[in-house]
Structure formats: structure tokens, C-alpha cells
Symmetry: C2
Subunit: 357 residues, 2 copies
């Protein structure tokens, strides 16, 4: 009986979800090439009898996180976390207070911190992200992410996910796709909040990974401790390699926004049948940020989107998403009317393209 | 309408599955402590309102493969594959014909092959499992596994999965558990047949993994090539570490059969709430094989089950599965009546225990 009741509840849910999606699965998207590409891809790959039909088990969609699902400027959220953790590390090991790069971070000199080298940042990451039991780390990230706020919007970072992309995640899942995050960020870091933030469970988060070491705690119980040893650099080619390692299937749809996502998009697009590759262009300085070729600016170090990447997107048949033109709203917290843009009646991609080159 | 029809079909399926399971989810198991432990675990963790209820997302069950889901004696199936591939490798690189350990394998001298050292076997594995595109490798394994036969039963290796364990996999999945293979064998090797053989998709197979390298083929399309570089040794502590890397959650149920599964079972059992840890004892020389402490034999090198492991099982509250006493049938191909044992009316574990020590 309980099973029947659950199944009946399932029917009602399926019917109401189907109704909502039939109405408009992507209400925060303006009509244009980007929205059309997504809807047509879903219809072609999930309609029984379609020549491009994809069996449910094969329906894999991968998403970069920083700059694709949420804001990555002025710096990656995980870097803010690492910098925030430095005082705790220094308290535990006071000898670090006089050692660079910890000394600079402790000084609070924002300018100096902004100029830390990549090597320094790796030192900070290793010091703040390793050495503790995995459960302690996850609990700490959960605490931090619930409390920390972005300076520009004065809101939790998890509020800064893109509403149109959240709609894509839900639309794909309602269409039988399994959605994965494939991030250059730390796998453990993102797993701490991915389910609450994106509806994506930990086993569907693939990220840059360090080793863990099995031992026993004082209570004799097994303990996994984070080790300062990189085992998967999930950037660039590492994203395609990480997908192969963790999923073992090639995605049918992939979404990115920077050169670090290039190989993931190539890999998805290189498969048989219909594949969707999309790339988010940050061209909305007013509502979010503008960086990359759209505004004629030099490519940003955070979320690098070069003219070469734009050219590859065109050549390979990837769809460029213009935040400015394709998205009615960027964040869920924007009330309707405020910050809302109505799109052009024609192709938004056409307008976006004219801005480039 | 289509969605409603799918949902209705889902109801019918749910009702009929529920009916079949209500009858007896484990028909190939004799009544006894092992069967009881499984059924009580499932009921306690999946009945709404139960103090041990586990939310569906957390329902993870992990299974060793060799010796737990299928036959591992006299040697691991993957090793047979590697040895079978040596002539192909030697044909491609004739200079290997005079080099050990390839020379010994090519000689066909079974005795000498059986005495190859672990170091030799690793050389053979690296030569036969790396250097090719991942798609070619998977296709090759599929071809081989469809054709190769075990000598004792003269049947494909995939026929040698244990029917009682296949029932456990189905029962757990019908109860909302996601079933994973966590094998010391090669992740790519097992992924080639896991879905057809166990209903377990590639993304739910965690195994010993080597790196893959991203490049481009002659057609300009992305290519992933298997590299001779180990990135996850999924044995012993590596199993718990691999589960953390690939799933990021602790299993509620874990099944193994040898010292290589010890840490996986400890890890599962170390979590809060009700956890199930089970270990298969090979004590049926007539229907399968007998090795380990049950028959007073020295621990086998293939699927090592020591007296110390048995003692830990008892101490930690793992349930020992006696193949001889707990399983009515071992393989699906056994017709009813042939090879069938009716179990004791009392606890099978009790009988099994008396045989040990």
C-alpha cells in the first residue's frame, strides 16, 4: 500500500512538473538562439522515436561551476574561504605568522593580498584545505558558506547562483538527465554545499582532488584525513580526464565559461549523435561583471575567456550564452521588474556576435 | 499524456516488484542469520518512521567483485584477460617475445606461468591494459568477455556470478539503494560489462585506476588514451579512500570476501545508525571452491580470508556468509534440484561458526 501511495504521489508530481515545464521550462531566458538550442536539444534527445534519442542511462550533462553556475568575480569563492581560514591555521601554528605568504594574509593589506603569486595561493590552499579529517572539513565549509557574504551584493555566495542556469539544471533533470558539476575548484569544497545549492549530490561533483589517508581515530574508528597530495587537477584536459575517471561516459551536454572548460566542451561535442556545448559570456557589467572579448577588455585571469576561445566556440558549433541578452534575470533574489531585461524579439546570439570582432 | 502513461507504467512496475519482493526477496538464500541480517537491515533503513530510517539519497551499498559477486578462483578473470592479450602485444612488438615475463607467457608452460611473480604480473598488466584509446579498450574487453570461458564450468565468466548476490543487488535497488562495485580489479575492465552483468552502470564502478591522457586523433577529435600510471590502488585502505573520492558518502551496507575488503567494511560499519557489513566465506569445495579458515586450509593468495579476518568479523559485528550453508543455489544456470541444498532449519551462521576454530 505504501508503495502504491508513493507511486501515486509520483504521478501527481510528474504531472505537475510536466505541466510547469510544458508552459516554459526556462522562464528566465529571453527567446533567442541560446534558449532555442537548449529546448531543441532536450526535445530531440528525449522524445521516443526521435533519430537523436538518447537512452536515459546515457543522459549525462556536465557543468563547470565558477562563472557558469555562480559568480566567480572578483575572486573564486573558495579562495575567499582559504584566506578566511588563514588566521585559524596561524593560531594553531604560531610560527607561520612570520612566514610568507601567511604574513601578508595576516597583515590584512588587501592590495598585497591581491598580488600574491599563484605559488603563494597554492601554499595557502594546501595549508587550509589539508591535514584535517574529511568530516571536520565538510562541517567547517558548511558553517562558513552559511555565514560568509559577497561584498558587492552583501548576500551569501550561494545566493549568487544564476537563476537561468538553475532552470537548465532542473529542466535537464526533469528530462531524465543526470547533472554533474565538473569544477576546477576543490571537489570536497563544492560537495559540502552542492546538494542544497544546486540539487546535485556529492557523488555528482567532480573537482580538483587531493588524496585522503585512511587511519583510525582515538575511538578506534576509521578516519579519513585530507593529505597535501594532488591526485586530480580538474582543469583544462583534466576535466575530460576527470569525467572519464568518475563517470566513464561522455556527456551529451556540457556548459562552461572559460578556457579551463575548453576540453570538456570538445570532449562532449566529439561524441556521436546530438551533443550540446554552451559557453557563458560575461558581458553584463551592470547586473554582474563583464570580462573577456565582449567588451574589448583583456582576458581576465579569473574565468579567462579569450578571443581564441570565442573563435573556437563558433568553429566547433558551441552556443555562446550572452548574460546581457539571453538572461531576463540573473539571480533569484531579483524581484520581478527590478534588474529585469526583456530580450530582443530576434536572435540574441546575433546581437551578441555583433559585439565581438 | 505520455508522462502520465509513463507514470502509470511506473505504478504497475512498482506494484508488481513490491509483490515479488514481498513474497521473498532472496529466494536463493536459506533461512539463517545471513538472510535475516539483510532483510532486517533493509526493513529498518527503508521503513518510514523507523528509528534507523535512511533517506533515499544516503542509501549506498558497496560490493567487492572478485569472490563476492563472482568466482575468483583459480585466478582473477582480469588476469586471464591479460595473459590472453600477451600474444597480441607480442605481435605488435616482436622484440618482447624474447623478454621476460612475456617469453614465459608465450611458452604456454602453465606451471611456469602460475609461478610468475607479482612484479611480472604487473608488467603484463601494464603492457596489456595501457597504451590504447579508452574506447578501443572497452570494445576489446566486451569482445573477450563475450567469448572467453572458465575451464571448470565451460561457461562465460559472466555466468559465474553468484545468484544469491544478484538477488541482494536487486533487492537493495528495489529498496532505493544505489549499488556500487568497489573492486581491486581494473575500473575500466569491470565497467565494460558491469551494466549487462550486474545492472550496475559504469559511474557506479570504482576500481583500481590508471591515468588517461587527453589528446586529438587523426580526425581532430578528442582522444583519451590509457597511460601506465596508477592513480588509485583500490585495495585495502584504498577502497575506503576510493569510495570517498568517487562517492563522497559512507556506505550503509558493504559486502566483501577477503582481507582487501577489510577497511571498506570497517568504514561502512564505522558510521552512525544501522550499518550492514557482510563477508562471503568460500567453504563449498563441491559447488564452488573452499579456501580460507573454514577448511583449515592456509589462506589463499587469491581472495585471502585469514583467521584474523574471521576474528575481526566476529568482533566488529560483520555477518559471515557461508556459501555452503546460506546459499541454496550458487549460479543461475543451475537448474532447480541440481546442485541445490536445503539449509538447516536453525541458524546457518551457527553451523558455519562451529567449523571455524
Amino acid at each position: 500500500m505504501t508503495r502504491i501511495r508513493i507511486a501515486l504521489a509520483g504521478i501527481l508530481l510528474a504531472v505537475s512538473t510536466a505541466a510547469a515545464i510544458a508552459q516554459d521550462p526556462l522562464p528566465s531566458w529571453n527567446d533567442g538562439a541560446a534558449k532555442k538550442a537548449i529546448v531543441e536539444f532536450v526535445k530531440a534527445t528525449t522524445t521516443q522515436g526521435s533519430p537523436k534519442f538518447v537512452p536515459p542511462g546515457e543522459r549525462i550533462a556536465t557543468f563547470d561551476q565558477d562563472g557558469t553556475l555562480w559568480v566567480e568575480h572578483p575572486v573564486y569563492t573558495q579562495l575567499v574561504y582559504c584566506l578566511d581560514r588563514v588566521p585559524v591555521i596561524v593560531r594553531a601554528k604560531p610560527e607561520l605568522a612570520g612566514v610568507e605568504p601567511f604574513k601578508t594574509v595576516m597583515s590584512g593589506n588587501r592590495e598585497a593580498i591581491a598580488h600574491l603569486s599563484e605559488e603563494d595561493l597554492i601554499k595557502i590552499a594546501m595549508a587550509t584545505l589539508t591535514g584535517m579529517p574529511v568530516d571536520d572539513f565538510r562541517a567547517e565549509v558548511k558553517r562558513w558558506i552559511a555565514a560568509a557574504k559577497d561584498h558587492r551584493w552583501n548576500r551569501p555566495y550561494t545566493d549568487l547562483t544564476y537563476l537561468p542556469m538553475q532552470e537548465v539544471l532542473k529542466y535537464l533533470r526533469a528530462s531524465g538527465y543526470r547533472t554533474y558539476i565538473v569544477t576546477g575548484g576543490g571537489q570536497d569544497f563544492v560537495r559540502a554545499y552542492s546538494e542544497a545549492t544546486y540539487g546535485i549530490p556529492p557523488e555528482q561533483v567532480i573537482g580538483t582532488s587531493i588524496a585522503v589517508k585512511y587511519s583510525y581515530g582515538k575511538d578506534g574508528k576509521p578516519l579519513l584525513t585530507k593529505e597535501p597530495k594532488l591526485i586530480l587537477d580538474n582543469n583544462n584536459a583534466g576535466k575530460a580526464e576527470g569525467i572519464y575517471l568518475m563517470i566513464g561516459r561522455r556527456p551529451y551536454a556540457a556548459f562552461g565559461n572559460s578556457t579551463g572548460d575548453e576540453q570538456m566542451l570538445e570532449y562532449a561535442k566529439g561524441g556521436d549523435g546530438l551533443r550540446l556545448a554552451m559557453i557563458v559570456l560575461h558581458d553584463d557589467a551592470k547586473r554582474e561583471y563583464a570580462y573577456g572579448p565582449a567588451e574589448g577588455l583583456p582576458a581576465s585571469k579569473v574565468g579567462t575567456f579569450t578571443q581564441a576561445l570565442y573563435d573556437e566556440a563558433k568553429k566547433q558549433g558551441w552556443t555562446v550564452i550572452s548574460m546581457k541578452n539571453d538572461w531576463k534575470n540573473i539571480f533569484a533574489f531579483e524581484s520581478s521588474g527590478i534588474n529585469r531585461r526583456e530580450g530582443p524579439s530576434g536572435s540574441s546570439a546575433g546581437r551578441s556576435r555583433s559585439r565581438l570582432r
